[in-house]
């Protein structure tokens, strides 16, 4: 599976460190200096329950008196961050699967009451990670995760966009049609045309 990343690192004391993990195995680690395009390949894919993690690990929050965020007059003038512009698996953009949730790994002097999760589309401003899961076949799984919605009942079948990817009723009718075709074949194979 191809994993293509486009990330932007911002500098403060040092460049941010990006970690990519797949199914608990670190498959990539590098300092992100400005915009970087990263192309990875992995065959460590399970049939179900794969987990991809993109994280930042080296932001200082007071360790040895160092903070990787510089504030002046209540304004951030320097900050160590990583923004994920794009994360593609086999050419499919998956950024929405982060679900706007960044999981924080509290370090140094970050207070204990600092939240475990923060709401952000794609920027890592703390140590921690974005993550999502997927199964195989990959495209089927990503399609469902990105686009399948709960089935709405109070909409005309004619314009019910929520009905797509819900195949239960279709599968039932297909069986009924196959049974009719079977009857046609068994009883009338000599009269069909």
């Amino acid at each position: 599976m191809k994993i293509n990343l486009q990330v932007v690192g911002t500098y403060c004391n040092s460049w941010p460190n990006l970690i990519v993990e797949l199914n608990g195995v670190k498959i990539h680690e590098q300092k992100v200096k400005n915009t970087e395009i990263i192309e990875l390949e992995s065959n460590n894919i399970l049939q179900q329950g794969n987990r991809l993690i993109l994280g930042m690990t080296n932001k200082a929050f007071g360790k040895n008196g160092i903070y990787d965020t510089v504030v002046k007059n209540n304004k951030i003038i320097e900050d160590k961050t990583i923004q994920v512009l794009s994360i593609k698996l086999n050419d499919i953009e998956c950024k929405t699967l982060f679900n706007n949730t960044f999981h924080v790994h509290r370090t140094d002097k970050q207070p204990s009451y600092f939240p475990d999760k923060v709401n952000t589309v794609d920027v890592m401003s703390y140590n921690g990670y974005f993550t999502f899961t997927f199964d195989l076949p990959l495209y089927n799984s990503l399609t469902n995760k990105k686009f399948k919605k709960p089935l709405q009942k109070d909409v005309s079948y004619f314009s019910n966009s929520s009905a797509v990817f819900h195949y239960e009723e279709e599968t039932k009718v297909i069986v009924e049609i196959k049974n009719i075709l079977k009857e046609v074949d068994e009883k009338f194979s000599d009269k069909r045309s």
Partner: protein, 506 residues
């Protein structure tokens, strides 16, 4: 004379009706007193909830008869809500959009005759003609014979209506099946949505949306399509004229979303490109955020100008419905579609790059389709699955298969292919959809149905967004049942025809 232009169920409730917005404006522009009444919208608000409204779809589509309570409710609605709004008018122009308007129109006209006997009823719209190969005449003539209308108009209403207003009650298109056509669409007035309360519609998003008519007829002559029967000649408005209308709706009503009724939105590349360039510029300078969709044709790659889709996207082109029909280049060529799978590859990639979405419209089991062609169709689900996962392909309508319709090039080819039809034992009328072709004996009815469901299963396997999947399959199931009944000649299992289903009102 005071005129009332009426829309009836079933129409989509997601946008105000365009045909009556045009007709009302035409009548007004000729100096006559006119108002418009959207009974589809009134009925939507009359019922207790949305689900009840949609339950009536099965009645309008004549998939089942109305229950007694539903039938009473329709009559009650007309008597209590519609007729009081109609009583001060002398002449009604009722728009019959298609066959799904027949049930309501018939009841309405009966009640008009009974309660407002001195009024004139004029029917118009595509539904007044018939596309059924084996039906002798259409709904308009049927209603006239039943004395449920005084006139029916075939073809483009704009100038026929002028004749009617002037008292000229004969000629092409007036209770006559020769359609009347207008050459210069730019000369027509814009639809006037001021006749409607635009806040009453059940839009698909939080934004208001209206229809736009950019062209009439079609630049193509796809063999199975009967559009040329209604609109023999392809006519289109200039890109500037269309863009002006969209900008007017935006500036007057705040409308940013549009749905084109055209057979092909890009039938004229020049008009389409001009429109996109004007809208892209307007979007940039006014931050209007236009968002429009419509039926589209994939063109050969070589015909597409550089950066074309960037401009389409900047103009607000969001979603296109494309008759892909099959995965076989050979069959598409025989349908006269004139594009190849490699053209689809190119356009899907461009759509993906520019955030444009597409719906595939399919036709499984074409008259010349071989098993190899069918396998080509099955292959497309894997080939283009990537674009499902990117969200570029937003839907596929696998439809119910090929029917032979009046006025199509295929109708002319019936002899050439040796096509013959299964006859309904009940009424002796052949079924338009139960056909076989001597020239392609492997594709008999069961094989066509088998290929149709195999295609559906392949689409499920690759997780494609199948639109109206269960509803389409139910129609295929009815075909299979009709064929089984034909073979077994079971007299006890009655097949009801659409006409018989209308009897609930009697």
């Amino acid at each position: 004379m005071k005129n009332l232009v009426i829309s009836v169920p079933r129409l989509e409730i997601h946008r105000p009706p365009v045909s009556t917005a045009i007709v009302a404006e035409v009548i007004r522009s000729h100096g006559h007193d006119v108002q418009a009444l959207d009974l589809n919208c009134e009925f939507f608000h009359y019922l207790a909830n949305t689900q009840i409204y949609y339950n009536y779809d099965e009645i309008w589509d004549r998939h089942r008869q109305a229950t007694l309570a539903e039938a009473k409710n329709i009559v009650k609605f007309i008597k209590e809500k519609a007729l009081p709004k109609m009583k001060n008018y002398d002449r009604f122009f009722i728009s019959v959009f298609g066959s799904s308007a027949y049930v309501f129109t018939k009841i309405l006209c009966k009640l008009i005759r009974k309660n407002l006997p001195k009024t004139v009823i004029v029917l118009g719209g595509q539904g007044v003609s018939t596309s059924h190969l084996h039906k002798k005449y259409g709904f308009g003539l049927e209603m006239k014979k039943l004395k449920l209308c005084d006139l029916y108009l075939v073809g483009e209403g704009e100038h026929i209506i002028k004749n009617v207003l002037d008292g000229n009650l004969s000629g092409p298109g007036i209770s006559d099946d020769t359609p009347s056509q207008i050459d210069d669409l730019n000369s027509l007035p814009f639809p006037n949505y001021g006749f409607y309360d635009l806040d009453k519609y059940d839009y698909l998003s939080s934004e208001k949306e209206v229809f736009i008519v950019g062209s009439r007829g079609c630049v193509r002559r796809c063999t199975y399509c009967d559009i040329a029967r209604y609109w023999p000649k392809f006519r289109y408005r200039t890109g500037k004229n269309i863009a002006s209308e969209m900008i007017e709706h935006y500036e007057r009503h705040g409308v940013t979303k549009f749905y084109f009724t055209d057979s092909l939105i890009n039938g004229s590349m020049k008009a389409f490109t001009d429109m996109c360039e004007i809208l892209a510029k307007y979007n940039q300078t006014h931050k209007a955020g236009f968002d429009w969709r419509g039926q589209f044709i994939f063109r050969p790659k070589r015909q597409i100008p550089k950066d074309h889709f960037a401009t389409v996207s900047a103009a607000g082109g969001k979603e296109f419905y494309v008759g892909v029909e099959t995965g076989s280049d050979k069959i598409r060529y025989e349908m006269d579609k004139k594009f190849l799978n490699e053209d689809i590859d190119f356009q899907l990639e461009e759509f993906n790059k520019h955030g444009i979405h597409v719906f595939f419209l399919m036709l499984i089991g074409y008259v010349t389709e071989t098993i190899e062609d069918h396998h080509e169709t099955l292959k497309m689900f894997k080939r283009w699955q990537k674009y499902v996962a990117t969200g570029t392909i937003q839907g596929i309508d696998l439809a119910t298969g090929l029917s032979f319709n009046k006025g199509t090039p295929l109708e002319q080819q019936i002899g050439q292919h040796g096509v013959y039809f299964v006859v309904n034992d009940e009424n002796g009328i052949p079924y338009d959809d139960l056909w076989q072709a001597k020239a392609n004996p492997d594709l008999d009815i069961p094989e066509r149905i088998r290929r149709r469901i195999e295609t559906h299963e392949e689409a499920i396997k690759y997780n494609w967004p199948i639109w109206r999947g269960a509803q389409r399959l139910k129609v295929v199931k009815i075909m299979a049942e009709k064929y089984l009944q034909f073979l077994s000649n079971k007299k006890d299992k009655k097949i009801t025809t659409p006409d018989q289903q209308l009897n609930f009102f009697e």
